[in-house]
């Protein structure tokens, strides 16, 4: 008994070990979040010509900034664009990721190792570089498809036009994200005990039936997780459209909410509006992801009872 107590660590040790993480968490998460909320509730009034130190007075504004965000047509417009973009991207990305994961799990398919590595590789390419490469390939006469069209006497497709830009931006994110989600789903598939399939195969089930009836239901938790993370990433899209902007006129500087927030904070120097819009965007992200999780959970429980 005495030896046992000597062998346990002093009570302060775990706290000391966690100290770096807790300090960093406080400094770079808690304080910034609190500060954003604080800023979002304040405003700056400029007196007279706005010259001199006393000319800018900060004051308590209550929810005025939030009212302004919600009344701002541009903000809603950017939110709508992200909605369209997300509706294009997320089903395509997760659909392809699921398809490839199932194909990789088929014993009879060939070139599986090569395909897995090749499809996962874009994960190692930063979004800015990916956008830059695709951006050039979208230009008439630079991309291979465009070049062949022109050579065949057709006019190149305007891939950077006002409508096609949604597909073009979504394609970049699709390229970058499919492989990662595929590997997550594939790994989850490998964890399914193979006796489950063998029993079905003995009963004469086809690979299609096995995929639909066994594999996809087993993948549901992994699919939910990849969906939530895709949702969070989609709502914050910034790098791809920002990088494409120099190549096209179809992308205004406030194309997505985050681009608009950046614009407000650093180009228009209205930190308070930017803070309010950040809080709204973060709240929307949390509500959507938790709302989705609740919905799925209730359905799962409903099915059980």
């Amino acid at each position: 008994m005495r030896q046992r107590s000597r062998r346990t660590a002093p009570i302060s040790v775990p706290y000391a070990f966690l100290c770096p993480a807790i300090v960093l968490f406080a400094l770079f998460m808690v304080v910034p979040i609190g500060y954003t909320v604080y800023l979002s509730l304040r405003r700056v009034k400029v007196n007279g010509l706005g010259l001199g130190a006393a000319a800018r007075i900060e004051y308590w504004a209550g929810f005025a900034n939030y009212r302004q965000v919600f009344a701002d047509g541009e903000f809603w417009h950017s939110a709508l664009r992200v909605l369209i973009y997300g509706c294009l991207l997320v089903p395509a990305m997760l659909g392809l990721a699921l398809l490839f994961a199932l194909l990789l799990d088929l014993p009879r398919a060939r070139a599986r190792r090569f395909s897995r590595v090749a499809i996962f590789m874009p994960y190692a390419v930063p979004a800015v570089i990916a956008s830059l490469m695709w951006g050039f390939m979208y230009l008439p006469s630079v991309g291979p498809g465009q070049y062949l069209l022109t050579a065949a006497g057709h006019r190149p497709i305007d891939l950077l036009g006002p409508t096609s830009i949604y597909f073009s931006v979504a394609n970049i994110a699709l390229w970058g994200g499919t492989g990662f989600n595929m590997v997550v789903l594939f790994t989850a598939l490998r964890a399914v005990p193979s006796e489950l399939y063998e029993a079905a195969r003995i009963d004469g089930a086809t690979e299609w039936q096995i995929a639909w009836r066994i594999k996809i239901p087993m993948l549901t938790p992994a699919l939910i997780m990849t969906f939530v993370f895709s949702l969070i990433a989609t709502l914050q899209v910034f790098s791809e459209p920002t990088t494409l902007r120099p190549l096209t006129n179809s992308l205004p500087s406030n194309w997505t909410p985050l681009m608009k927030i950046y614009q407000d904070a650093f180009a228009r120097d209205d930190i308070h509006m930017a803070a309010a819009a950040s809080v709204v965007l973060a709240a929307a992200t949390l509500v959507l992801s938790f709302g989705f999780l609740r919905l799925v959970q209730r359905r799962a429980f409903g099915a059980e009872s």
Binding site: A21, A111, V125, V128, L132, V142, G179, P246, A282
Partner: protein
């Protein structure tokens, strides 16, 4: 046999189509980096050009070699950032997995909630706070916010729970080793493969993070390569000669990462991610 081969045909074609789609931009950037500016817009996309070495030389000379400065900066941000992040994640994950103490659950849940916090609520106030400390436009402004990784802590905890045997920790303690020494000589070696995974994920996350350096940095000699190439592309509107340099720069910047990725294949343990290793 032929029936089996026919059955393998469609899945194989679909997988190869996916692989081709994913490799296309890589193949494109390799060929495009060999072209002169004229060739870039005139010759067939995938036909090699004549100017690879000229492009490399021009890129190296651009603003007296700033491109290589960007590469070094990127290596510093992603390398040092990921290393520090792995150290913090490792010791935190180990502590949360192996010690029993009041508040353990709360600390873990609060740290984990950080995964869901969108970067957007953090970026602007982080900028303002660092500006208050006169740290914006320094290496610290990009490094410091990159160290904490809730995800890394989560992975390290799962890995520590699965890979560090309690008996070994107990034995070391009986031998009179201190807690820090036990962490260094018992926990770290057992957790090493998991820590490499945390390092790689964090390396890619920092390297991929455009918003943070874009907001924090104004002097171009501190840019990572992503922000640097972006500013070059922006100037391409008025100086189209820069386009070939941007393309060459893109190729050079992804080459080491793709190599790292291919050689460290076995450390991309995504199963950790879905919590498949039970703690």
């Amino acid at each position: 046999m032929t029936a089996a081969r026919r059955a393998a045909f469609l899945p194989t074609v679909a997988l190869l189509a996916g692989a081709l789609y994913c490799l296309l931009p890589i193949v494109w950037v390799v060929t495009a980096a060999t072209k002169t500016n004229g060739e870039l817009f005139r010759t067939f996309t995938l036909a090699p050009g004549t100017a690879l070495f000229d492009n490399l030389a021009d890129l190296s000379q651009y603003q007296s070699g700033i491109y290589w400065q960007w590469i070094l900066n990127t290596a510093l941000y992603a390398g040092a950032g990921a290393l520090l992040s792995t150290a913090v994640s490792g010791i935190s994950g180990y502590t949360l997995a192996k010690y029993r103490f009041p508040g353990r659950g709360v600390v873990f849940n609060v740290l984990l909630a950080g995964v869901l916090v969108p970067a957007v609520v953090l970026a602007i106030p982080q900028y303002l706070l660092l500006a208050g400390l006169h740290l914006t436009d320094t290496y610290w402004s990009v490094l410091l916010p990159s160290i904490l990784s809730p995800y890394g802590i989560y992975l390290a905890r799962i890995y520590a729970a699965a890979a560090v045997p309690d008996s070994l920790v107990e034995a070391a303690r009986t031998d009179g080793a201190g807690d820090l020494r036990i962490f260094r000589s018992v926990a770290v070696p057992s957790m090493l493969p998991g820590l490499v995974t945390v390092f790689l994920f964090q390396f890619v996350a920092i390297w991929n993070n455009f918003l943070l350096p874009y907001i924090m940095l104004t002097s171009d000699d501190k840019f990572p390569v992503t922000v640097g190439l972006y500013t070059m592309l922006k100037q391409g509107n008025t100086t189209p000669v820069l386009y070939t340099l941007v393309v060459t720069g893109a190729l050079l910047s992804i080459a080491p990462l793709v190599l790292l990725f291919l050689t460290l294949q076995r450390y991309w343990r995504v199963d950790l991610l879905s919590g498949a290793v039970k703690g």
